[in-house]
C-alpha cells in the first residue's frame, strides 16, 4: 500500500470521490492518525481552489456566540406593540421594512450587510445539548462526539502558512468548540480577554537555554523512538510536531493579532469597552492574519428573571461590537471572504414567566448571518406575532444553517467522514438555505 502522503499526489483531478470509504478504512486501521492527513490535503486542494474556484470563495468564519440563549424578541425579531413584546420597542434599520430591537442602533446602520434567519428551529431546550446542537449541526449522540463547525472547516480547509492556530475561541466560556471525532488537534485554541497575555506562549528561559533544552529533548526522543518506526511522530503522537508548531507560534509576529492593546483608540473604541468588544476586534485582526475560524463568546443571555433588563444590558455590549466587526471587515475588504454568524443555543419564550423572565424556546428563534458573499438585508422566515403558533413560517433547521455555511465555503456537506469507530458521518445533513445565496 502506498504511504498516505504519496496518495495526495494522485488527486490532481481535484476531487475526493475517488478516495473510497474502503481505502480510508484500511488506512485508518493501518496507520493510526495518518488517515486524517491525506483527506485533509486533498480537500485543501479542492477547497482552496487550484482552478476555477480560486479567489471566489470565502475562506473564514466568525461565530459570535451568545451564550445562554438570547431573546429573539429583544434582539433580531421584535414584535413591537404586540402582547408578546411586553413593551419592548423596535427601531428601523438601514433596510426599509426590517426592524431590530431597540438598543441595536449601530447594528441597524449596517443592516444592508446582514441577513436574519428568524425561523431557526431545533429540538433541544437544554443549554448543553442545544449548544452542542447549534455548534455541531447534530443532536448529542452518546456514541460519537461531533466536531463543531469551526473544526469541520479547519479540517476540510487546512492551512499550512499560518504560525498561529487556525481555529481560535476567544472568551471560551463553558463549551468552547471542539474537534470531536476529528481529533483534539481541531479543538479551538482558547484565549481570554485580549487585554490579557495569551497563556503559556512565553518561554521563561533565554533563547539559548531553550535551545539547549530542545537539544537535550532530542536525545530522549532518540531513545524513545527506537523500535517504534520512523513515522512515530507523524502517524501517532504528533508530539514533536506539536512542539515545533508551539515554538513557531511562540516567536511568531502573527501573535500580535491577538493583542489589541496597542491599536489606535480610533480603531478600538467603536467596539465598546468590553471583553467581548475586544474579542470581536481581535477576531477581525486574526482573520486578517489568515486564521480560518474564530468564535467570540458573550455570556449572560439566560434571562429566566427580569428578561427586559438583562437582555438590554447584553444588547448594549453586543451592538457596538457586532456592528464594528461588520464595518471593520468591510473596510479591510475582508467581509466577502468571511462568513459572520451571530446567535445562541436557542431563543426565549414569547410569554413571560411569573418573575418577568423568558424561558428556553427552541421552536423559532433568530440567527444573524453576514458576509461571505451572502445576500445582505434579507429576512428568512417569521415567527407568529401573537405568539400562539409554535411553528414559525419557513422553518430553518439548525443543520440547514451549517449546510449553507459549508456550501458557501465550497465544502460538499454530503461528504461522509469516517469516524475512528468506522462510522461514516456526513459533514452536515442539512439543506442549503437558498434564499441566502441570491
Amino acid at each position: 500500500m502506498k504511504s498516505p502522503s504519496s496518495l495526495s499526489a494522485d488527486f490532481s483531478c481535484g476531487t475526493h470521490d475517488h478516495w473510497s470509504r474502503r481505502t480510508l478504512l484500511k488506512s485508518a486501521g493501518l496507520s493510526g492518525l495518518a488517515w486524517l492527513t491525506p483527506l485533509a490535503e486533498i480537500l485543501a486542494l479542492d477547497a482552496e481552489g487550484t482552478g476555477a474556484r480560486k479567489g471566489k470563495r470565502p475562506r473564514s468564519v466568525i461565530l459570535l456566540w451568545l451564550d445562554g440563549g438570547p431573546s429573539q424578541l429583544d434582539t433580531f425579531d421584535p414584535h413591537p406593540g404586540k402582547k408578546i413584546a411586553f413593551g419592548a420597542k423596535a427601531i428601523d434599520t438601514a433596510v426599509p421594512g426590517i426592524q431590530l430591537a431597540a438598543g441595536l442602533d449601530r447594528t441597524a446602520e449596517v443592516m444592508q450587510d446582514i441577513s436574519l434567519i428568524r425561523s431557526v428551529v431545533s429540538k433541544e431546550g437544554d443549554h448543553e445539548r442545544a449548544m452542542y446542537n447549534i455548534k455541531t449541526g447534530y443532536r448529542p449522540d452518546p456514541t460519537v462526539t461531533h466536531p463543531a463547525i469551526g473544526s469541520i472547516i479547519c479540517h476540510e480547509m487546512p492551512k499550512t502558512d499560518l504560525e498561529i492556530p487556525n481555529h481560535v475561541s476567544i472568551l471560551p466560556g463553558r463549551f468552547p468548540s471542539r474537534g470531536g471525532f476529528l481529533g483534539a488537534q481541531f479543538d479551538a485554541f482558547q484565549v481570554n480577554d485580549p487585554n490579557q497575555p495569551i497563556p503559556d506562549v512565553t518561554s521563561s528561559v533565554t533563547a539559548e537555554r531553550e535551545q539547549e533544552r530542545i537539544d537535550s529533548l532530542k536525545i530522549l526522543e532518540n531513545s524513545f523512538s527506537a523500535g517504534r518506526g520512523k513515522n512515530l511522530d507523524r502517524d501517532t503522537t504528533l508530539h514533536l510536531a506539536s512542539i515545533e508548531n508551539a515554538r513557531k507560534m511562540m516567536t511568531s509576529d502573527q501573535l500580535k493579532a491577538f493583542d489589541v492593546s496597542d491599536t489606535p483608540k480610533s480603531e478600538s473604541d467603536p467596539y465598546g469597552d468590553s471583553s467581548f468588544g475586544r474579542g470581536c476586534h481581535a477576531a477581525v485582526r486574526l482573520i486578517e492574519a489568515g486564521v480560518r475560524c474564530v468564535e467570540v463568546t458573550l455570556t449572560g443571555w439566560d434571562s429566566h428573571a427580569n428578561n427586559a433588563e438583562s437582555q438590554a444590558a447584553r444588547v448594549a455590549t453586543l451592538d457596538p461590537a457586532f456592528a464594528s466587526l461588520i464595518s471593520d471587515l468591510k473596510a479591510r475588504d475582508l467581509l466577502d471572504d468571511t462568513i459572520v454568524l451571530c446567535g445562541g443555543e436557542f431563543g426565549r419564550t414569547p410569554l413571560l414567566n411569573p418573575v418577568a423572565g423568558r424561558d428556553h424556546w427552541p421552536h423559532g428563534f433568530s440567527m444573524a448571518i453576514a458576509g461571505g458573499g451572502l445576500v445582505g438585508g434579507k429576512v428568512i422566515g417569521s415567527t407568529d406575532p401573537e405568539g400562539e403558533k409554535e411553528e414559525p413560517e419557513r422553518p430553518a433547521r439548525v443543520e440547514d444553517v451549517h449546510a449553507t455555511v459549508q456550501h458557501v465555503l465550497g465544502i460538499d456537506s454530503s461528504y461522509e467522514v469516517m469516524t475512528p469507530a468506522n462510522r461514516p458521518i456526513a459533514l452536515s445533513e442539512g439543506k442549503v438555505i437558498k434564499e441566502l445565496l441570491s
Binding site: G29, L30, S31, G32, L33, G125, D126, E128, P142, T143, T145, P165, F181, G183, A184, Q185, D187, F189, Q190, P199, D200, V201, T202, S203, S204, V205, R209, E212, R213, S216, L217, I219, L220, E221, S223, F224, S225, A226, G227, R228, G229, K230, L232, T236, T237, L238, H239, L240, A241, S242, I243, N245, A246, R247, M249, M250, D359, H360, P420, A421
Partner: protein, 556 residues
C-alpha cells in the same frame, strides 16, 4: 540492539544520603513531616503469595495460550517482555493515575525478582489512591463528568461511595444491581445518583429520564449500544428494532423522585412514538435478548428484575463488558473497540471468553480480573521492538503482540508531574499542604490540557496547547524550578553524591527507568562542575526535558 531499560541499581548510599539531607533541611516540624520517608503501607510478602497462590496461574496460562494461538495463526511474533519497572509504571498509572515515586521504586527493588509484580499489585490495591482513581474512571461510564442537576445530584458523593466499594472489593454484579435498582435520597444513598443524574434540570417534573437510563445501563453494563435505535430501526443490521430500545426504557417508567428520594411508583406506563407513526403507543417492559434469564416470578420492582437479568451469571454480555472496561483501564485501550460496543454473539478476540468465564466463576471479583490481566503475556510485553531495524508493525499492534502506545490522560499527566517533583509517594499519608498543592494544580492543569470526558479511549494525538502548557506552563515551572523545599529537582541536585546519581534519580522519578549510556553521558556532562544556582538550573533543564518528552506523555 539497544536494551530499552538497563537494570542498573542505584547506590544505596544515595538513599541514605538523601534521608540525612532531608532531615537536616527539615528543621521545622512541618518540614520534617513533609520529608520523612514514610514506611510504605504495603502488604507483607506472605499476603501477596496467598493472593497469588489461587488458581490464578491456570487462567493466565489459558489467556496466554489463546493469544499465542492467534499470533501463530497470523504469523505474528510478539515483542520482548518489558522490564519490571515499566510494568510497575503501567500498573501505577492504571490504578492510581500517577507514576511511581522514587520511594516506591526503591521499595520495589528490595522485593525478590520473582515476587515483585504481585507484591506491587497488592501494594497498589492496599493504597486508597487506587480505589479513588478506579471510582472516578468507572463513574465516567455511569454518570459522565458533568456536574448535573445540582438539586438532586451529587457526583462527589457517588464517586466517594464507589471508592469505598472498590476498596472493599465488592462483588461487581452486586454493585451493578445496586446502581440499576437504586432507591432513596442522593445524599444518603449515593447509588441513587445513577438515577437522578438523568433528571432534566429545567423539567424536574418529568423525573428520571427512561431513555438516558436505558442507554447508560446497556452501554455501561452490557457493552451494547442499543440506544442507536431510539429513533429508528438498526441501520447497520437487523439486530435491533426501535421497539427493543423502548421496551427496555419502559423498565424505568416507574422510577420517580419524591420527598424520600428515588422510588418506584407502581403502575406507571411508558409511551413512545415509533418512527412513521403519528400516535404514541404504550410499551411494556421487556428485555431485548436472553429472555430465558429474566426472573420468572414478578417479585421486586421492574428495575430490580432488570438488574437481576443484566447481572445474571449466564448473561455473558455483562461479564464481557466488565472485562472490556477493565482491560481498557489497564491498557488504555479496550480489548474490543469501542469499550461499550461489543458484539453479542461474537466473534470475540483472544482472551475475552476466558477472562469473562473466569470473572463469572470467581464471583465477579474485579481484583482477581486485574491480577489475571496484569500477569498475562500481552500486558507484560514491551511497546517497542528490540530491533530498531524492524520496528513494531501495525499487525503486531492490532493483535496485542506489543503493548499499545497511547496518550496519557490529563489527570495522569498532572498527577505524574506533581509526583515526579516529590521523592515520596503523594497519597493519603502525605502532608495536607502537598496534597492541596497537588489538587489545585491538577484541577487547573486538567482543564487546560483538555479532558477527554466520557470518550475515554478515543485515539488522540498531542496538541499545541498541551505542548505550550508543558513547555511554558506554571505547573511544570513550579515543580522543576529552584525550590529546595518542594522540588525533587533542586534537592537531588544538592544531595546526590555525584552527577551520575543525580541524573539517574531524575530519570527514575519521571520516566521510572535508568538512563541509557548515551543519556547518562549527555546529562552528566551538563551537570559537571556546576554548583549552587547553576546546578539547580541544570537540574531544572534536565527535568524540563524529561517532562516534555514523548516518553513521559505517552503510556507505553
Amino acid at each position: 540492539m539497544n536494551p530499552p531499560i538497563p537494570q542498573r541499581t542505584a547506590p544505596p548510599i544515595l538513599r541514605n544520603l538523601m534521608f540525612a539531607g532531608l532531615c537536616l533541611l527539615g528543621a521545622g516540624a512541618l518540614t520534617a513531616a513533609l520529608w520523612r520517608p514514610a514506611e510504605l503501607a504495603a502488604p507483607g510478602l506472605s499476603t501477596v503469595l496467598a493472593a497469588a497462590s489461587d488458581d490464578l496461574s491456570t487462567v493466565v496460562e489459558k489467556v496466554d495460550h489463546a493469544f499465542l494461538t492467534q499470533w501463530q495463526a497470523s504469523h505474528v511474533e510478539p515483542v520482548e517482555p518489558a522490564s519490571d519497572l515499566l510494568v510497575a509504571r503501567r500498573l501505577s498509572l492504571a490504578l492510581t493515575g500517577t507514576v511511581p515515586s522514587l520511594e516506591e521504586i526503591r521499595a520495589l527493588d528490595k522485593i525478590p525478582v520473582a515476587d515483585r509484580q504481585s507484591w506491587w499489585l497488592e501494594y497498589l490495591f492496599a493504597d486508597r489512591r487506587s480505589a479513588d482513581y478506579l471510582a472516578e474512571r468507572f463513574a465516567r461510564a455511569y454518570v459522565g463528568i458533568e456536574s448535573g442537576p445540582f438539586l438532586v445530584y451529587r457526583r462527589n458523593r457517588m464517586v466517594s461511595w464507589l471508592s469505598d466499594e472498590f476498596f472493599a472489593n465488592r462483588r461487581y454484579d452486586e454493585l451493578a444491581r445496586e446502581l440499576i435498582a437504586a432507591k432513596g435520597v442522593w445524599t444518603s444513598q449515593p447509588a441513587a445518583n445513577f438515577i437522578t443524574v438523568t433528571i432534566d434540570q429545567n423539567d424536574k417534573e418529568r423525573g428520571p429520564d427512561e431513555i438516558k437510563l436505558a442507554a447508560r445501563v446497556t452501554r455501561a453494563f452490557l457493552g451494547v449500544r442499543i440506544d442507536c435505535v431510539q429513533c429508528h430501526d438498526d441501520k447497520f443490521g437487523d439486530r435491533w428494532k426501535q421497539e427493543d430500545f423502548h421496551q427496555l426504557a419502559a423498565f424505568f417508567a416507574e422510577a420517580e423522585v419524591a420527598l424520600g428520594g428515588v422510588r418506584d411508583k407502581d403502575g406507571v406506563i411508558y409511551e413512545a412514538r415509533m418512527k412513521g407513526e403519528s400516535e404514541t403507543e404504550v410499551l411494556t417492559a421487556k428485555v431485548p435478548f436472553a429472555e430465558n434469564l429474566y426472573p420468572a416470578n414478578s417479585d421486586g420492582t421492574p428495575r430490580e428484575r432488570l438488574a437481576a437479568w443484566v447481572t445474571h451469571p449466564e448473561n455473558t454480555a455483562f461479564a464481557r463488558a466488565t472485562v472490556n472496561r477493565v482491560w481498557a483501564l489497564m491498557f488504555n485501550r479496550p480489548l474490543i473497540e469501542a469499550v461499550d460496543d461489543l458484539p453479542l454473539d461474537g466473534p470475540f478476540p483472544a482472551g475475552m471468553e476466558i477472562l469473562a468465564a473466569d470473572l463469572v466463576a470467581h464471583d465477579f471479583d474485579l481484583r482477581r480480573l486485574i491480577r489475571v490481566i496484569a500477569a498475562s503475556e500481552a500486558f507484560q510485553l514491551e511497546s517497542r521492538a528490540a530491533d530498531p531495524e524492524s520496528p513494531v508493525s501495525d499487525i503486531q499492534k492490532q493483535q496485542w503482540a506489543a503493548f499499545p502506545l497511547t496518550r496519557m490522560r490529563p489527570e495522569q499527566m498532572a498527577s505524574s508531574i506533581t509526583q515526579s517533583a516529590s521523592l515520596a509517594a503523594i497519597n493519603a499519608d502525605s502532608h495536607i499542604i502537598r496534597r492541596l498543592a497537588s489538587f489545585g494544580d491538577r484541577t487547573n492543569f486538567v482543564q487546560r490540557y483538555g479532558d477527554l470526558g466520557e470518550d475515554e479511549f478515543g485515539e488522540a494525538a498531542g496538541t499545541i496547547p498541551q505542548r505550550l502548557l508543558m513547555m511554558n506552563g506554571k505547573v511544570v515551572r513550579d515543580r522543576t524550578g529552584q525550590n529546595p523545599v518542594l522540588n525533587a529537582a533542586t534537592r537531588v541536585g544538592m544531595l546526590a553524591p555525584d552527577d551520575e546519581s543525580a541524573v539517574e534519580t531524575a530519570f527514575l522519578t519521571t520516566l521510572s527507568r535508568q538512563p541509557t549510556e548515551a543519556e547518562l553521558a549527555h546529562f552528566s556532562e551538563q551537570l559537571k562542575g556546576t554548583k549552587g544556582k547553576q546546578r539547580s538550573r541544570e537540574m531544572e533543564d534536565l527535568c524540563w526535558a524529561l517532562l516534555n518528552s514523548t516518553e513521559f506523555s505517552w503510556n507505553h
